[in-house]
């Protein structure tokens, strides 16, 4: 009982920011008066749900396969410019989806992304292209934090066999990665809309736009039912990791020319994307002054948003870790749910239910926005927490449990979990910086929002400034990732 009460604070944010307002709104909008059979909407809406799940699943699998490929090569070999390559691979995630899709479409053309019956292949490819770095980061973290004895044993094998063993050993984490990505992709709407594919989020928006909230909730619940198995898989048993200290230096890592070539090939589309954006971003001579001023505004806006994004992401990750560390699987499930639903639903519920109760003086602060975005990162926090709690060797974890719970948790296990938690925070920061649904609804007037501004610029065809903002976001994100990851890098002692 005490254990459960002690962990309750980790669910406070999601209770206040999601469950309480959402359930209140559901009651208010008459969802519970509808028949159980209405969940998921009409049969055509259910087909859209299936399409959405299919696209999310295929994208997640493809992104994880690509991420696994990248992670195994980066962790299992050494070569020149690896840090640069890793940073570049990250760019596709740090560039906002609208800018990515717009650039791809501008070069390739929307119909070229079409395949078979619908444009699903284009949507799957673009989503996988964007999210592969997240999979790579998760799996690379798991690979680098292997117990040193296991790492040393691998280095005695021939390089190709070692790479295969490394990939094989990452399979449990890769499956978790697929699960996490499915949850994150299920309400993706920007990239699929560029590919001409309708996802369930757009159908929910269409219902909300004309005031048919009850049906919007029905569709949302339909999504939830569709991904319930993934949710359960994500938060349930995760095998324990190694049995001794983690780490390892680069000494003994093989140098494979083939690996260098493959990484270069893998980086080429990313380089192409960055070049396209850079060329687009370069202003005409007559517009240099204006472009310069817009650029400075963009930089200021991004750095103004960064601390808030960091706070939102950190809260989500720490809450996820706390629940995972305490073995609260149902708590982790509750933490994951808000990620599945479109951000607009949660944001509207917060505005209707919670905002009127807050003092007027807080209206000019982005508190509710931060809360909404924290809730939306629940699955990232849960996944990071689960992996982090499993990465610590059992012997260390056991010896920490002989300390008083608070001491053992925060003085021993939390610092040990940081190599996994910190990269997850960076991922969360990137997601918050690119988030538009809750931002449009909740950001106080005049609040900087690079992602919203980028959307507006793309919509009104100011491609140059949009490209500048996209590149800035990628650059700032890469810097943040480098700062966070640098201490965790393998280096020769």
């Amino acid at each position: 009982m005490k254990r459960d009460i002690g962990a309750f604070w980790a669910l406070l944010a999601v209770m206040i920011g999601f469950y309480f307002p959402v359930i209140s709104m559901m009651i208010h909008d008459g969802l519970f008066e509808a028949a159980a059979g209405d969940i998921g909407g009409s049969s055509s809406s259910q087909l859209v749900i299936l399409t959405t799940v299919r696209i999310a699943t295929l994208s997640a699998i493809l992104a994880t396969l690509v991420g696994l490929f990248d992670a195994v090569l980066l962790a299992g070999t050494r070569g020149p410019a690896r840090v640069l390559i890793a940073g570049m691979l990250l760019a596709t995630f740090l560039i906002p989806p609208a800018a990515l899709a717009s650039a791809v479409q501008g070069v390739i053309g929307s119909s070229t992304l079409r395949a078979t019956i619908r444009d699903e292949l284009g949507a799957v490819c673009m989503l996988a292209f964007r999210w592969a770095p997240v999979a790579c980061a998760m799996l690379l973290g798991a690979a680098v934090l292997w117990p040193v004895q296991q790492e040393r044993a691998l280095r005695g094998l021939s390089p190709r066999v070692a790479l295969f063993v490394r990939a094989r050993c990452l399979v449990p984490q890769a499956l978790r990665c697929v699960g996490l990505l499915i949850l994150l992709l299920i309400c993706a709407s920007e990239i699929p809309s560029y590919a001409g594919v309708e996802t369930i989020s757009q159908r929910v928006y269409a219902r909300l736009t004309v005031g048919n909230a009850a049906e919007g909730w029905q569709l949302a619940l339909g999504m939830l039912v569709a991904v319930a198995p993934v949710l359960l898989f994500l938060v349930w048993k995760l095998p324990l990791s190694g049995r001794s200290q983690g780490g390892g230096t680069v000494t003994g890592l093989p140098r494979l020319r083939g690996a260098d070539l493959l990484l270069v090939i893998r980086s080429t589309p990313v380089l192409a994307l960055v070049l396209i954006l850079a060329i687009t971003a370069w202003p005409r001579a007559s517009e240099m002054a204006v472009a310069g001023s817009e650029f400075v505004d963009g930089v200021v806006g991004i750095f103004q948003e960064l601390p808030r994004a960091f706070i939102a992401s950190s809260i989500a990750v720490i809450c996820g870790w706390r629940l995972a560390d305490g073995g609260h699987r149902w708590g982790l499930l509750l933490l994951c749910l808000p990620t599945v639903l479109p951000g607009s639903l949660g944001a509207l519920a917060l505005l209707h239910v919670v905002r009127p109760t807050l003092p007027l003086i807080l209206d000019d602060l982005p508190i509710l926005l931060t809360l909404a975005q924290t809730c939306k990162l629940g699955a990232v926090g849960a996944a990071a927490g689960l992996v982090a709690s499993r990465v610590i060797p059992l012997s260390e974890s056991n010896s920490s449990r002989l300390l008083a719970p608070v001491t053992g948790r925060w003085r021993v296990r939390f610092p040990r979990a940081l190599p996994v938690l910190l990269p997850a925070v960076v991922i969360g920061v990137a997601l918050v910086m690119g988030e538009v649904e809750a931002t449009l609804l909740m950001a106080p007037a005049g609040h900087p929002s690079p992602a919203l501004e980028l959307h507006q610029l793309l919509h009104f065809r100011n491609d140059e400034q949009a490209a500048r903002i996209a590149l800035l976001l990628a650059l700032v994100g890469s810097m943040l990732a480098a700062i966070v990851v640098a201490p965790l890098r393998r280096k020769d002692k």
Binding site: R243, S244, Q245, G246, G247, P393, L394, S395, E396, N398, S399, S400, R401, L402, L403, A404, P405, T407, G408, R411, V412, P415, R416
Partner: protein
């Protein structure tokens, strides 16, 4: 929390499961200020019994009393940190981000040794110059002694030590034996899991059922 008239440890018909494998029933007693060794071949379950007593492995059936108090009351039993024990595992459990001294001070918070006592024990284990280092900077044998140092520095009247002499040369063994003897004289009791022991130490031999 030693209560007079109660043994330091009583184990009665203890059965512990590890996967599909069952260990026990085991029954033994450890008096206050004494040492007892569980012996047996590889895989017999010595470590599992120690972990079960420490509360780190679930118990299928039986009783565990430490200083007269049952450790198996309630749905999950008494939590490890409340059992009044100090535990040394077979695998390295040092925390890589803290120096040895910092780890000793951390575990000593709850009724453990003072700073001076920590240094004294470190000296007895020939660790005095090494306690400022982090685990990554120690050799295998040094890490083993460091972990024993940390264990001994904690509070808890009952020491549960799994293979404390592993990776030690003769001098190291001698120092550890002397330390354990010193702790017993101070009123602590020691349960060890060993592959083999000399005839001077009281033993309980675990055998295949």
């Amino acid at each position: 929390m030693t209560q007079a008239n109660h043994p330091a440890l009583e184990v009665g018909d203890l059965i512990v499961s590890r996967g599909n494998h069952s260990i026990g029933p085991i029954t033994f007693q450890l008096s206050i200020g004494k040492q007892l060794a569980l012996t047996g071949g590889n895989g017999i379950g010595k470590s599992s019994v120690l972990q079960a007593i420490a509360g780190l492995l679930p118990v299928t059936s039986g009783t565990i009393r430490i200083s007269g108090e049952s450790m198996l009351s309630g749905s999950d039993g008494v939590e490890p940190w409340r059992r009044g024990i100090a535990w040394l595992g077979q695998e390295r459990g040092l925390w890589p981000h803290l120096s040895i001294e910092a780890q000793c001070r951390l575990v000593a918070r709850d009724g453990g040794k003072t700073a001076e006592q920590i240094v004294a024990v470190a000296r007895s284990l020939d660790m005095a110059e090494l306690i400022q280092r982090r685990p990554g900077a120690l050799s295998g044998g040094e890490a083993q002694r460091a972990e024993l140092l940390r264990t001994v520095c904690g509070g808890g009247a009952l020491l549960l030590l799994d293979e404390p002499f592993a990776a030690q040369n003769q001098d190291g063994r001698r120092r550890i034996e002397a330390l354990l003897e010193q702790e017993c004289q101070a009123g602590r009791s020691v349960l060890l899991a060993l592959h083999q022991t000399d005839s001077e130490r009281e033993t309980v031999a675990l055998a295949e059922n």
